[in-house]
C-alpha cells in the first residue's frame, strides 16, 4: 500500500508537468486549430533561461521562474507573429508543417548556442524530505505539484472571469463572429501564445529541476507526451489537457512500477492510438458534426 501511494505521488509529479505543457498545446489548438509542435522547444528554452538566470545571475527562485516565463511568453508571441500569422488563412497542413519546421529550428538553435552536452540544473528549491508515515515526499515534488495546480487554477479563473479570457473563448468558438463583435482577434491570439508559452516554460523549469539536466533535445519526449495528454483530454479543452496530463503521468509511472519499464513509453503512445480510434474528441470532448 505504501509503495502504491509513493508511486501515486511519483505519478502526480510527472503528471503535473505534462499537464502544464499540455495546456499550451490545447490553448493554441483551441484558438487557431494549429498543433504547435514547437511547444516542446518552448519548454526547453524556458529551462535554459532558468538555468542561466540561476547560475549566471544568481536570481532568487521567484525571479528565476518569472524571468523564464516572461521571456518565453515574448518568444512565443514572436514565433506566432513571424511563423504562423502569415499562414493564418493558408491550409491547415501548411501551418502544421511550419510548426514542425519551427520546432527543428529552435532545437538546432539551442544546439548551436548552448552546445549539446547536458547542463546540470542547480537546486533552486529548498531541499527537505517530508515524512508522512512511511511515505516520503521531497519538497521539490511538493513545489512542482503545488505550482502546477496554482497556475492551472489561475488560468481557469483568467479564462472564466476576465474580459480577455472571454475574448479567448469567443475567438476559439467562432473567429469571424468574434471579429464582428469587435474583438481584436490578433491580440487575443498573441495573448494565447503568451500564456501557453509561459506555462510551457514553467513546465520546462520544473522538469529540469526534477530531472536535474538541461539539454537541447529535452523538449522532445515531454512535448510528445503532453501532446498525447492534450488529445486524450480532448484537444482544445483546457480542463481536458490538465486531466490528460495527470492521466498520462500516472499511466507512465504505474506501468514502470507494476508492469515493465521498457513498455512504459509504448503504452503511453498506444493510448494515443486507442483514443483516436474510439473517441477522437477525447475524454471531455463532445462529438460535433462537421457542418458542410
Amino acid at each position: 500500500m505504501n509503495l502504491f501511494l509513493q508511486q501515486l505521488i511519483n505519478g502526480l509529479n510527472v503528471g503535473s508537468i505534462y499537464a502544464l505543457i499540455a495546456i499550451g498545446y490545447t490553448m493554441v489548438y483551441g484558438i487557431i486549430k494549429l498543433i504547435n509542435f514547437a511547444h516542446g522547444e518552448i519548454m526547453m528554452f524556458g529551462a535554459y533561461f532558468a538555468f542561466i538566470a540561476a547560475t549566471s545571475f544568481n536570481l532568487p527562485v521567484w525571479a528565476v521562474l518569472l524571468s523564464s516565463m516572461v521571456i518565453m511568453a515574448i518568444i512565443g508571441v514572436a514565433i506566432e507573429f513571424i511563423a504562423y500569422r502569415p499562414l493564418r488563412n493558408a491550409p491547415r497542413l501548411s501551418a502544421l508543417i511550419t510548426a514542425i519546421g519551427v520546432s527543428l529550428f529552435l532545437q538546432n538553435l539551442a544546439l548551436i548556442i548552448f552546445k549539446p552536452d547536458p547542463k546540470v540544473m542547480p537546486k533552486i528549491f529548498p531541499e527537505t524530505i517530508y515524512k508522512i508515515g512511511e511515505i516520503e515526499i521531497s519538497s521539490t515534488t511538493l513545489i512542482t505539484i503545488g505550482l502546477s495546480l496554482f497556475f492551472m487554477v489561475l488560468l481557469d479563473l483568467f479564462i472564466r472571469k476576465t474580459k480577455q479570457g472571454r475574448a479567448m473563448r469567443a475567438v476559439s468558438e467562432d473567429k469571424d463572429a468574434a471579429i464582428l463583435m469587435g474583438i481584436n482577434v490578433n491580440r487575443t491570439i498573441s495573448l494565447t501564445f503568451a500564456v501557453g508559452s509561459a506555462l510551457g516554460a514553467l513546465g520546462g523549469v520544473l522538469y529540469s529541476v526534477a530531472y536535474i539536466q538541461v539539454y537541447p533535445t529535452m523538449g522532445v519526449m515531454p512535448g510528445l507526451k503532453a501532446f498525447i495528454a492534450a488529445v486524450l483530454g480532448g484537444i482544445g479543452i483546457i480542463p481536458g489537457a490538465m486531466l490528460g496530463g495527470f492521466i498520462i503521468g500516472m499511466v507512465e509511472t504505474m506501468t514502470k512500477a507494476y508492469l515493465s519499464t521498457t513498455w512504459a513509453d509504448a503504452i503511453v503512445f498506444a493510448i494515443l492510438i486507442v483514443v483516436l480510434l474510439f473517441k477522437p474528441t477525447g475524454i471531455l470532448g463532445k462529438n460535433t458534426r462537421e457542418k458542410v
Binding site: L3, Q7, P116, V120, I129, T261, D265
Partner: protein, 381 residues
C-alpha cells in the same frame, strides 16, 4: 521559366560540388607522416569519454613526436566526432580510411559505435586498437581488432567480488539501461559473480535509453532494501539516478563501473561515498602514472580520467607495434600488435588470442568529497 533556370543552376552547382569534394579526397596519404585515426564522441551525452580519450591520445602523439616519432617520421592523429551515434561513427571511419588514408585506428571509444564499425573494419583488415570499448563482442571473430581496456564481464565480475567481499554485501539490486549493451553486459556478469559468491539478487529494474524519470524504479528498489545497488551506466545517466536516490533517502551503497568516471565533477554530492570499478587511479603512487598525470596536467590543466589514460596507452601500444613491424602494412602491424608487451599507465598491456588484455588489474575507486580516491585493487582469476 525563371524557376526552371534556377533549378537547372542548382543541379549544376550540386554536381560541381560533388566533383570538387571528390578532388579533395585523392590528396590523402603523404609519406613523411604516419597517420592514425581516432573515433569517439566529442559532443553529446557521452562527450566526456571521447574527448578525454582523444586528449590522452594526442598527448601520447606529442610525446612520441618530440622523441623522434616512428623512424624519424612524425605521427599525426586525425580525430573525428562519432556523436555516440553508430551511423556517424561509420561515416567517420570511412572518411579516415578513404579521405585521410590512416594506417591504423584508435577507437571507437564506446562499445556501441565500435560494434557498428566492426564489420567494415574486419573486411578492410584495418589495425584497430580501441582504448575503451568494453563489450565482449568487440574483439570476437576480429583478428585485426584489439582493445586496451578490460571487458564488461571482467569488470562486472570484479565489481561483484568487491561488493560481496570488501563491502560484505548479502543482497544486491540492479538498475540496468536496456538497449545499452554496456550496461546490460556488465550487469549480467555482476549477477552471475555475485550469486556465485553466495549473495542474493533482490531484484533488477531497468530504464530506456531516453528515460529521465527514475522515480518509479528507485521507489521499488528502496522497498527491496538491498545492501548495494549496482548501476553500470555513463555519468549523464548515473548522475540523475544518484541524485534522485539521495532525494528519496536510499541508504544502500551504489556501485558502478568505469562509465562513472567523471561523476565527481558535476554530481559530487549525489555520488558521495559510492564506489566504481576503473582502469587506474590518479592518486596511485606508480611512477608511470605520476609522469603521465604531470604531463597531462601541464597540457590540459586538469586531472586525467581513465579514458584519457587508456587513450594514452592505446597510442603508445599502437606506435610500438608499428615501429616493431617496420612497415605500415596492415598485416605487419597486426602481427606486431599480437606480440605487444607494453607497461602502460593502466597496467601492463598484453593481448590474448582474441585481442583482449590479459590479467589486467581492476582498480576500485571511491568518490569522496568530490574527489576520486583509490580504494583497492581486484584481479579476477
Amino acid at each position: 521559366m525563371k524557376k526552371r533556370v534556377v533549378s537547372v543552376l542548382l543541379v549544376v552547382m550540386f554536381t560541381a560540388s560533388i566533383f570538387a569534394f571528390a578532388g579533395c579526397s585523392t590528396s590523402g596519404g603523404s609519406s613523411d607522416v604516419v597517420k592514425l585515426g581516432f573515433i569517439g564522441p566529442m559532443t553529446g551525452d557521452a562527450a566526456i569519454y571521447g574527448s578525454s580519450a582523444e586528449e590522452g591520445a594526442q598527448l601520447a602523439v606529442a610525446e612520441i613526436n618530440a622523441a623522434g616519432g616512428i623512424d624519424g617520421k612524425n605521427i599525426e592523429l586525425i580525430a573525428y566526432d562519432s556523436k555516440a551515434d553508430q551511423t556517424e561513427a561509420i561515416n567517420a571511419y570511412n572518411r579516415l580510411r578513404d579521405q585521410d588514408g590512416v594506417v591504423a585506428v584508435i577507437g571507437g571509444t564506446l562499445s556501441g559505435e565500435t560494434l557498428a564499425m566492426k564489420d567494415i573494419m574486419v573486411s578492410d583488415n584495418m589495425p584497430v586498437l580501441s582504448p575503451t570499448a568494453t563489450a565482449v563482442e568487440v574483439t570476437q571473430d576480429a583478428p585485426n581488432v584489439f582493445r586496451a581496456c578490460f571487458l564488461d564481464d571482467y569488470q562486472g565480475q570484479a565489481a561483484a567480488n568487491f561488493a560481496a567481499t570488501t563491502l560484505g554485501a548479502k543482497t544486491a539490486a540492479l538498475l540496468i539501461g536496456t538497449g545499452n549493451p554496456y550496461s546490460e553486459g556488465v550487469s549480467e556478469a555482476f549477477k552471475a559473480a555475485f550469486t556465485a559468491k553466495g549473495g542474493t539478487i533482490a531484484g533488477s529494474e531497468s530504464y530506456g535509453t531516453a528515460d529521465k524519470d527514475f522515480s518509479a524504479q528507485l521507489t521499488k528498489i528502496k522497498e527491496m532494501n538491498p545492501d548495494v545497488v549496482f548501476v553500470p551506466d555513463y555519468v549523464q545517466t548515473v548522475g540523475p539516478i544518484l541524485q534522485k536516490a539521495k532525494e528519496m533517502g536510499i541508504t544502500a551503497k551504489f556501485v558502478g563501473a568505469d562509465g562513472w568516471d567523471g561523476v565527481q565533477e558535476e554530481y559530487a554530492d549525489a555520488a558521495q561515498g559510492n564506489y566504481f570499478t576503473n582502469h587506474y587511479a590518479a592518486d596511485s603512487p606508480s611512477e608511470t602514472v605520476q609522469n603521465f598525470i604531470t604531463a597531462y596536467k601541464a597540457e590540459y590543466n586538469k586531472v586525467p580520467n581513465s579514458f584519457a589514460a587508456l587513450g594514452y596507452d592505446a597510442v603508445y601500444a599502437m606506435v610500438e607495434a608499428i615501429t616493431a613491424a617496420g612497415s605500415t602494412e596492415s598485416a605487419d602491424i597486426i602481427t606486431a600488435l599480437n606480440a605487444t608487451d607494453h607497461p602502460g599507465v593502466t597496467g601492463t598491456l598484453k593481448f590474448d588470442e582474441e585481442g583482449n588484455p590479459k590479467d589486467k588489474e581492476v582498480t576500485i575507486i571511491k568518490i569522496d568529497g568530490g574527489q576520486l580516491k583509490y580504494d583497492s585493487t581486484v584481479v579476477n582469476k
